[in-house]
């Protein structure tokens, strides 16, 4: 129950930051519009833009909750409930943004596989939320966290997808599924992309939980006799 309440209130909190929310929604659009003439390029850049904006939003939400979380733990909430609820909310926001852009691409571009373009965007949004959460856990200050996410996304955009460096980046799955959706090829690319996304999701979610379990651990004192 705690996770659902945290999720619902986190979503409400985000919806009130409408300027930030508008920027989160608009950021991928700039990526898309710059290369709108090239269907593949613009769609893949759009997806990476979704990844960047959703992960940055998550980072800020995680940092904003830093002073509340210990009190919630002390009141009785579990770490998994707090972190899980927040990830649920941010994943929902990410999926909503992805869904809107999927519809836009469907109307505006002639893609080889529109359904898989939707899968690419959804997977990106689902990876972005725990990634932002992990960066927020590792780098407690917002500036450092935002710069780290900028570096990750920039490297992912610029690196050759076949390079090892690109495969080590969290959004390699976006490039892999996106290439199949736009250019076609072997279906193995989609499975490899999904496998990579699943692994990144597990690492980021598990890492976030591990760090916050340590940070929010309460000393277990015995009762007075």
């Amino acid at each position: 129950m705690t996770a659902l309440v945290v999720a619902s209130l986190s979503a409400r909190e985000i919806s009130r930051r409408w300027v930030a929310l508008a920027l989160v929604v608009a950021l991928p659009l700039w990526f898309y519009l710059v290369r709108r003439d090239l269907a593949g390029q613009s769609t893949r850049m759009l997806a990476l833009g979704i990844g960047w904006s959703v992960s940055t939003l998550t980072l800020f939400v995680v940092n904003a909750s830093r002073s509340v979380d210990p009190r919630l733990r002390l009141t009785g909430a579990s770490t998994a409930g707090i972190i899980g609820g927040r990830l649920l909310a941010l994943s929902g926001v990410g999926l909503s943004v992805a869904f809107a852009y999927w519809l836009l691409v469907g109307v505006d571009q002639d893609l080889r596989n529109w359904w898989l373009a939707g899968l690419m965007m959804a997977v990106t949004a689902l990876v972005a939320a725990p990634l932002g959460s992990l960066i927020g856990a590792l780098l407690p200050r917002e500036l450092e966290g935002a710069l780290a996410l900028l570096s990750i996304c920039a490297v992912q955009m610029l690196a050759d997808p076949s390079d090892t460096v690109a495969k080590l980046m969290p959004f390699w799955s976006t490039r892999e599924i996106g290439t199949y959706a736009v250019d076609g090829g072997s279906l193995d690319m989609v499975w490899r992309g999904l496998g990579h996304a699943g692994l990144v999701w597990l690492i980021c979610t598990g890492g976030t939980l591990a760090i916050f379990s340590k940070r929010l651990r309460l000393q277990n004192y015995p009762e007075p006799t």
């Binding site: 409400r12 000393q219 004192y221």
Partner: protein, 272 residues
């Protein structure tokens, strides 16, 4: 609402009242409702709110103070060091139910750190701590989410304590009224004044009816009236059998407390 008396008695027990007294109050309340020929819920409202209200009223009656209850917090030889700097060492404190303790000392002597250690949020470097499980903590600042309203905070902290949203909200509003504050339904916390935000912090610390309350200078930003309300509230908690530990630097507070822990005295020579 035929189970109203049971719910009322259970809430009184949960708030720390002795079983015999709780049973007696439940019986008297049911009889009063019978005199009006109406169900207790129609006469007194929700059982959990009336229980809190009645306890608050009882504290206004100048009764003889009860004997202190069981020990709820015990510190023996507690120390905290950051790298080579010793913040404090050898701290002893014992607080029973029905007692108020104040932690005093100069800026930077570790008052807030000690309170966090008592809460279990910070690990002591040395020493033994025993503490009751149900604890409420009110930090000096922060501890709230700026974009949520007060009622949403009640829902959030209530959920953490296992309370259903409606009950958490009504309890929070009731506790706020005792600090002469009526939370706005739409106003986010970041738009509240510093003093009102501290009232919210106090309510959140008490929402789950803890046995031990740890308060870190909770009255910052309070006006004179609210400051007096706050101390009345502290005495109400004390008289309900709870233990209260307050970090303070206001010396005139100390005449009202049972224990004073001067943390400045635990600083080692030359490190002050």
């Amino acid at each position: 609402m035929s189970d109203w008396p049971e719910m009322f008695e259970a809430e009184l027990l949960r708030l720390g009242l002795q079983p015999g007294r709780a049973s007696q109050l439940a019986e008297e309340t049911t009889q009063q409702a019978a005199e009006y020929a109406a169900p207790p819920a129609d006469v007194f409202g929700p059982a959990h709110l009336y229980a809190r209200h009645l306890l608050a009223e009882l504290k206004a009656v100048p009764l003889k103070r009860l004997e202190p209850g069981p020990v709820l917090l015990q510190l023996r030889g507690v120390a905290k060091r950051y790298r080579r700097r010793t913040v404090f060492a050898g701290v002893d404190l014992r607080v029973r139910g029905g007692e108020v303790a104040a932690i005093v000392g100069a800026n930077g002597c570790g008052k807030s750190t000690l309170l966090k250690i008592c809460a279990g949020l910070t690990r002591p470097t040395a020493g033994e701590i025993r503490r009751t499980r149900r604890v409420g903590f009110v930090p000096q600042d922060g501890g709230t989410a700026g974009w949520l309203t007060a009622e949403e905070h009640f829902t959030l902290f209530g959920a953490a304590a296992g309370m259903v949203p409606g009950r958490a909200r009504s309890t929070g509003i009731h506790l706020a009224s005792r600090l002469a504050w009526r939370p706005g339904r739409r106003q986010p916390v970041q738009q509240l004044s510093g003093g009102t935000r501290q009232k919210l912090n106090l309510v959140l610390g008490e929402l789950h009816a803890p046995d031990l309350l740890l308060l870190d200078e909770p009255y910052q930003g309070f006006d004179q009236g609210t400051y007096l309300d706050f101390w009345q509230q502290v005495f109400a908690w004390r008289d309900a059998g709870r233990a209260v530990v307050v970090v303070t630097h206001l010396l005139h507070d100390l005449q009202n407390v049972d224990h004073v822990l001067d943390l400045g005295a635990y600083l080692t020579g030359g490190e002050r």
